[in-house]
């Protein structure tokens, strides 16, 4: 049952970042960092994803979208907040239009510091999240195969 660890597919969403962290997320996919080594695929589709990787602070308009995306991901799933903005609102925390970190909207499992967050740091974060993913999978299994529908929040 250790396959979650070996095949984490991720969905990246920019919930209002400055692009700095986003391009570092993209850089992770490219030859120098190549996260496909870990079986990571950037799916672009919440329904195929295991990890929701969010960059940027959540602004007012993105609140609902982040919820939608999270709700559409099948269980088990984890959320990684990458960058100061995603963790706390970062440099934009004082803005009238920014709610703050991702955890204001959905539960966050791993925080990855940086501004911009380095690709290596993202890899660290994702690797940490895999243990949590496995734990959640085991939990789900224990709760019985019923997989009672979790309400999309």
């Amino acid at each position: 049952m250790a396959f979650f660890k070996k095949s984490p597919w991720l969905l990246h969403y920019d919930a209002s970042s400055c692009n700095g962290c986003d391009i570092e997320v993209l850089a992770c996919l490219t030859p120098i960092y190549d996260v496909e080594r870990f079986g990571i695929v950037n799916t672009g589709n919440p329904k195929h994803a295991d990890i929701l990787l969010i960059t940027g602070a959540v602004n007012v308009q993105n609140e609902e979208i982040v919820r939608n995306l999270y709700g559409q991901m099948p269980d088990p799933k984890v959320v990684v907040a990458a960058g100061a903005c995603a963790m706390s609102g970062g440099v934009f925390q004082d803005s009238y239009n920014v709610l703050g970190g991702i955890d204001k909207v959905i539960p966050v499992d791993v925080y990855v510091p940086g501004c911009a967050v380095r690709p290596e740091a993202i890899i660290d974060g994702v690797v940490q999240s895999l243990a949590i993913l496995e734990r959640k999978a085991a939990e789900l299994k224990r709760r019985g195969g019923s997989g009672e529908p979790e309400k999309p929040s």
Binding site: Y13, N45, N68, L69, Q72, P74, S146, G147, P149, P152
Partner: protein
């Protein structure tokens, strides 16, 4: 020549019986009585046609001598009446179409000369029946009967919706039964003059039915149909003149007894007539125009039976055409039509137009098969006729029923039908599956065709390969529309009454034809081929049948399995790029909330309708002219 009494009687019964209900229906007004009459008439006709199929000794051709001396005279009088009637109808014609009455008059004169001016030997057996005819008769009896059954309800509804139209239902039902009688005539006639007579009656029925609603468009289209069919009629008349000589009677036998090539010209002319009747390119436009008629008419005349008369005759001619250059060109006309019509069907969103083009396309395939004329292709042609008649009738009636529920014939308005009107949708799905998918009907025939064509006519095999792509495309997207379920779709009014009966039986028939086609092949088609060529044909090997049965079985079992899943899976809204706003609505530009709105592809700028029509018509015209010239 010994004739078992029963089959002979049944043939004559089928020919004459429908006239009874026809005349009665012309007289009655009451809706209840009409329904009863139609039901009884249809049932009796269907029963008789089935009985005929049952009693016909396997594999034999029965020649039926018609004892009455009045019969020939009656036919002659009938012909004169029909011709005069048509000429009278041409009073209202526009200047541009003034050639139509001229052609009709020419037909009449030619026929008059053939009958009175020449000394033709009498025809001993004006009627006959062979397994293929019996199959065709069964199709006409059952499918025709069902369509007739469906009509009273439909027409009542039709007139409720169009109060502005004149109620000419008495004429309508008269024509339906008259038409059935004439179709049996076409199927059973051996005497060419008789055949011609029945042929002309179908032309007449079609003309009157297309003009039924009396709108300007309907009238225009009716005359277009009349004109093209009159051209065919003229060719027919010429064929009779050529086929009948003082030594040989004018019968359909010329096509099978003469050495191949000897009777080429009359055969080519008759084939030409067949092309017009079955709306092959370059004559397809009338069939599209005919779609203005009420839907039962489209189903009965313009897809499942009358247009089949055209290909039926062409198939009968196959022995005379086989191996000739004329036959080759004829096959190419069919092949061209098959491909072009399939492309055109892709560009249409009007359900009846899609059905019309697909009809033309399928008839093209049958013509192609007939033109090649080998045992395998004739087998395929016969099976195609069967499958197409059943499935197309179902589709037309389904579209009619949908139109009356949904208020539109546009395929785009049929989205989610599986959820809102599941019964209707299932009827349509069965029809569509029957039309193109393995292991169902049409595909079997295509399979047989392709095998035969690979040996005999490579060019056609290529056309067939190319045509199957677009065919797949337009049927699948229609299916897709039907089963695409918007969230929150609720079931609402479904089919009722007679419509339901007719549709259900057709669904069963289509399914039956698909599942039990080997039986149809064994009873009708194989014996017929054996009779024609003197050699059996073993197309359906056991292993292939096994495979097909397994595929069919899978299609039945799989839904069962997947609905037996223990738990209901979790429901999530569709992916809308994160902009979901409940159900399948999303927050769109400028904050507006839209429901998901989807339209199928019609590729109108890729398959340009006008260009295709022009090119294909031109090509087909050339081929047709060549076909006649080479004869």
């Amino acid at each position: 020549m010994e004739t078992p009494l029963k089959a002979q009687h049944l043939v004559i019964f089928l020919l004459l019986f429908p006239l009874g209900p026809a005349l009665l229906l012309a007289a009655v007004r009451g809706a209840g009585f009409r329904r009863l009459l139609v039901g009884a008439g249809a049932a009796a006709t269907a029963a008789a046609s089935v009985a005929l199929a049952a009693v016909l000794p396997s594999g034999e051709t029965l020649w039926i001598a018609f004892a009455s001396p009045f019969a020939d005279q009656a036919v002659i009088v009938g012909e004169i009446v029909v011709t005069l009637f048509l000429l009278a109808a041409c009073r209202r014609i526009r200047r541009r179409e003034a050639w139509i009455p001229v052609v009709i008059a020419a037909q009449g004169l030619l026929l008059g000369w053939a009958e009175f001016g020449r000394d033709l030997p009498p025809v001993a057996t004006p009627l006959y029946v062979d397994p293929f005819s019996a199959l065709m008769a069964a199709i006409i009896g059952i499918v025709g009967g069902l369509i007739a059954l469906y009509s009273p309800g439909y027409m009542a509804d039709h007139h409720r919706r169009h109060p502005e139209e004149k109620d000419r239902r008495r004429g309508f039902f008269f024509l339906i039964f008259l038409f059935l009688s004439a179709m049996f005539g076409v199927v059973f006639a051996n005497h060419l003059l008789w055949l011609y007579f029945f042929w002309e009656i179908t032309t007449l029925c079609s003309f009157l039915m297309i003009g039924y609603t009396g709108t300007e468009e309907a009238t225009r289209n009716a005359f277009r149909a009349l004109g093209m069919n009159a051209l065919g009629g003229l060719a027919f008349a010429l064929a009779i003149v050529l086929a009948g000589t003082s030594s040989s009677a004018p019968t359909l036998e010329f096509a099978r007894v003469a050495a191949p090539g000897a009777a080429l010209l009359p055969a080519a002319l008759l084939a030409f007539a067949g092309l017009t009747k079955s709306a092959q390119l370059p004559f397809s436009s009338w069939l599209l125009g005919a779609m203005v008629a009420p839907t039962p008419v489209s189903a009965l005349l313009h897809s499942s039976t009358m247009v089949k008369a055209g290909v039926f005759v062409v198939v009968k001619l196959a022995p005379a055409l086989h191996g000739t250059r004329t036959g080759f060109l004829l096959a190419l006309v069919g092949g061209t039509t098959f491909l072009a019509a399939a492309l055109l069907a892709v560009t249409q969103s009007h359900a009846k137009r899609v059905l019309a083009w697909s009809t033309v396309s399928n008839l093209g395939l049958i013509v192609a098969c007939a033109g090649v004329g080998t045992p395998e292709t004739l087998w395929a042609a016969a099976m195609l006729i069967l499958f197409h008649a059943v499935a197309k009738a179902l589709l037309f009636l389904g579209v009619g029923a949908i139109e009356h529920r949904v208020g539109s014939r546009d395929i785009e308005d049929m989205g989610g039908l599986i959820a809102t009107r599941p019964r209707l949708a299932i009827a349509m799905i069965v029809g569509i599956l029957g039309m193109f998918l393995a292991p169902f009907g049409m595909l079997i025939s295509k399979w047989a065709c392709l095998k035969a064509l690979a040996d005999h006519n490579l060019l056609l095999a290529v056309l067939l390969a190319f045509g199957s792509g677009p065919t797949l495309f337009f049927w699948t997207k229609w299916l897709g529309k039907l089963i695409s379920v918007p969230s929150g779709a609720r079931a609402s009014d479904d089919v009722v009454g007679d419509e339901r009966l007719a549709l259900s039986v057709l669904v069963l028939l289509t399914a039956g034809a698909c599942g039990l086609f080997p039986l149809a092949a064994a009873w009708f088609v194989d014996p017929w081929i054996l009779g024609l060529f003197g050699a059996p044909l073993a197309l359906l090997t056991r292993s292939n049948l096994l495979i097909m049965a397994a595929m069919l079985g899978m299609l039945v079992i799989l839904p069962a399995i997947s609905f037996l899943q223990p738990r209901e899976p979790r429901r999530v809204p569709p992916y809308l790029a994160g902009a979901n706003a409940g159900g399948d609505a999303f927050t769109g530009a400028l904050g507006a909330t839209h429901a998901v709105s989807l339209r199928n592809y019609y590729l109108a700028d890729f398959f340009e309708e006008n260009a295709i029509v022009r090119t294909a018509t031109g090509l087909a015209l050339l081929l047709t002219v060549g076909m006649l010239a080479l004869a």
